[in-house]
Amino acid sequence: MSKSTNQNTPYRPVEPWVNKYRPKTVDEVSHQDEVVKALKRSLETGNLPHLLFYGPPGTGKTSTILAVAMDLFGPELYKDRVLELNASDERGIEVVRTKIKNFASFSVSQNNTLTNGKPAAAFKLIVLDEADSMTHDAQAALRRIIEYTSKTTRFCLLCNYITRIIEPLSSRCAKFRFKSLNDTAMIERLRYIASSESMPPVKDEVYQAIHAVSDGDLRKAITYLQSSYRFYGSRELTPDNIYNISGTVPPKLIETLINTCKSNSYDKLQSNLQQLVTKGYPASQILVQIFDQVTNHKSFSDKQKALIAMKIGDVDRNLVDGSEEFLQLFDTVSFIMKQLSDNSNNNNNNNNRMDLD
């Protein structure tokens, strides 16, 4: 791909760090020790089962399989031996029946050696990225193909939700779960990148903030790091910069919103919410953060928390269905307000009717 970019001109597009710092070997993959151990063993023997990687986004599924493929085939054979298909390619049942089947059924030479002297693996690899967005029909068509081409081809399915892969398919593969990164693993990687990009020193609290807003998603974290570096230049970063880049609402604003809920005035609540929305914060984000704060809030009783959490769940679904954001948010916060005021009046009988909805 990068061949056609002209190297002679002084201008060169900056590569996203996410691509630049993709692990090149299986060893470099952060934090997925069990997976790496198992994969390395099978790499040593040069044999590989069919694989199914699943886990939240940004945990290194694609990176791992690309590194495995590189290790097995080297850059020379990579092109001939690996077929990578993802959701952006057409891959309905037609493609499974023609493209995948054709690619899978050709046999490969048994005795290729790579430039580093290792014998190349005697099979091909088909990587189906984002496999959970394949239709069930296409998955069903794959079942038999996987079996009778197993002499020459290994499949690797990558997905976020294993439940969306049909059972017969997942039972044919060795499953590996990728877990979200904890703060030490993530910060270590971020530090490494920051120092190799010769960024000015970044404070610990900034790294903590990146970890907090990225939810264990390393890709997100690296994008935030790069974005904030590009966006704020060589100025020193603060956690607020990170919140800004990631679109997170500053925790203080959410706190004010929840405090307004205690005022028992709908007008105040409405104007406060209106302010938040005109500042451009997305409703889903506000909702998630309200949830975080409410669950950690001391002034709510357990029952209230449970009811509010239920409400937030409902509203979240409504938002996904495409409802008007303001009304939905308004509904949520006024529900919280009602819960709080009911409590102070020691009058919990009223809301039973509402809870049934």
Binding site: M1, P13, Q226, Y232, I245
Partner: protein, 346 residues
């Protein structure tokens, strides 16, 4: 020429507000390049203006010389062809994938793949602006994921939307998000007065304040309002702006609901709502405004119920009807029933 076009800032330096964003954008493009961007904020906050100004900063004034083209895409399996209007310059192309309806995925893929197949010679990356990404189908959004990574060397995507709630997570994590908040009232007043000065008429801060108040942070709307008012009745009166026709109609509905709760009145209200919908006022806006109008005048004890039912029925309309009416009537009936219920119970 409309004022909104005439006084649209074309460079980052001319931007009237959010200086910090402009400053940071400049910083970012210092190297001549930028990551994929996701620009979001309420409508009329200046997202597109900012994007175009950024492009101008990178590529020079040439990128403002745009041409409008109708592109046709062939569906690979059926004989259907899809037409989409594109706005393009030598450096960028802008599309509204929503136009393609359920074929949006196809359009995005063919456009990006076209560009990747014939990259610009001087190796500058090409910019693709996608508007209203929140209206893209989930399918199309998924298709964007890997495409964005794969062709990152050739083209940069700038995605614009009102809210990122409907943009899937994998796309958000691949972009640098830029939030463009709506201008504050004072900022709008300042812009309006600037325009007035250039158009040589008087606009007191008080009157401009009314416009700003009405616009709800939508600068485009504020300017349009100002222009239409200027042609209609100048000099301005200092009193508050009268409500628009449809706004007062909704107001009336709210009044009707409060003054009397009976089947006969329901019939009247129903007629009014039909008329509103007949005038192409989107149901969600009717619902929202109606709720606000009601909230102003009812007892605190039933406010929660009104909000709750408004949210409930606004959401349900998406299942039962698309821009048609029966359910709104039903919703009204119920929220009204509820309303009755509450009035009697309180």
């Amino acid at each position: 020429m409309l004022w909104i076009d005439k006084y649209k800032p074309t460079s980052l330096d001319q931007m009237d507000y959010h200086k910090d964003i402009s400053e940071n954008l400049k910083n970012m493009i210092l190297g001549g390049d930028f990551p994929h961007l996701l620009v979001y904020g309420p409508s009329g906050a200046g997202k597109k203006t900012r994007v175009m100004a950024t492009l101008k900063e990178i590529y020079g004034a040439n990128c403002l010389k745009v041409k409008i083209e109708n592109k046709t895409f062939k569906h690979p399996s059926s004989s259907k062809s899809i037409q989409v209007t594109t706005v393009s310059s030598p450096y960028h192309i802008e599309i509204n994938p929503g136009e393609a309806g359920s074929y949006d995925r196809l359009v995005i893929q063919s456009i990006i793949k076209d560009i990747a197949q014939s990259p610009p010679i001087d190796s500058q990356s090409f910019v693709v602006i996608l508007n209203e990404v929140d209206k893209l189908s989930k399918d199309a959004q998924h298709a964007l994921r890997r495409t964005m990574e794969k062709y990152a060397n050739f083209c940069r995507l700038i995605l614009c939307c009102d809210s990122t709630s409907k943009v899937i997570d994998p796309i958000r994590s691949r972009c640098m998000g830029i939030r463009v908040p709506a201008p504050t009232k004072e900022e709008i007043v300042k812009v309006l007065q600037n325009v007035a000065k250039k158009e040589r008429f008087d606009l007191s801060a008080e009157v401009a304040g009314h416009f700003a108040e009405r616009s709800n942070g939508n600068l485009r709307y504020a300017l349009l309002l100002l222009e239409s008012k200027k042609t209609k009745e100048y000099p301005f009166q200092t009193n508050e702006l009268p409500l628009l026709d449809w706004e007062s109609a909704i107001f009336n509905v709210a009044n009707d609901m409060i003054t009397e709760q009976s089947p006969a009145r329901l019939q009247v209200i129903r007629g009014k709502l039909y008329e509103l919908i007949g005038h192409c006022i989107p149901p969600d806006i009717i619902m929202k405004n109606l709720t606000f109008a009601l909230l102003e005048r009812i007892d605190t004890t039933i406010k929660y119920d009104i909000i709750h039912w408004a949210a409930f029925y606004e959401q349900n309309q998406y299942f039962t009807w698309k821009h048609s009416l029966p359910s709104l009537w039903q919703s009204l009936k119920s929220s009204k029933w509820n309303f009755n219920h509450n009035i009697t119970s309180t």
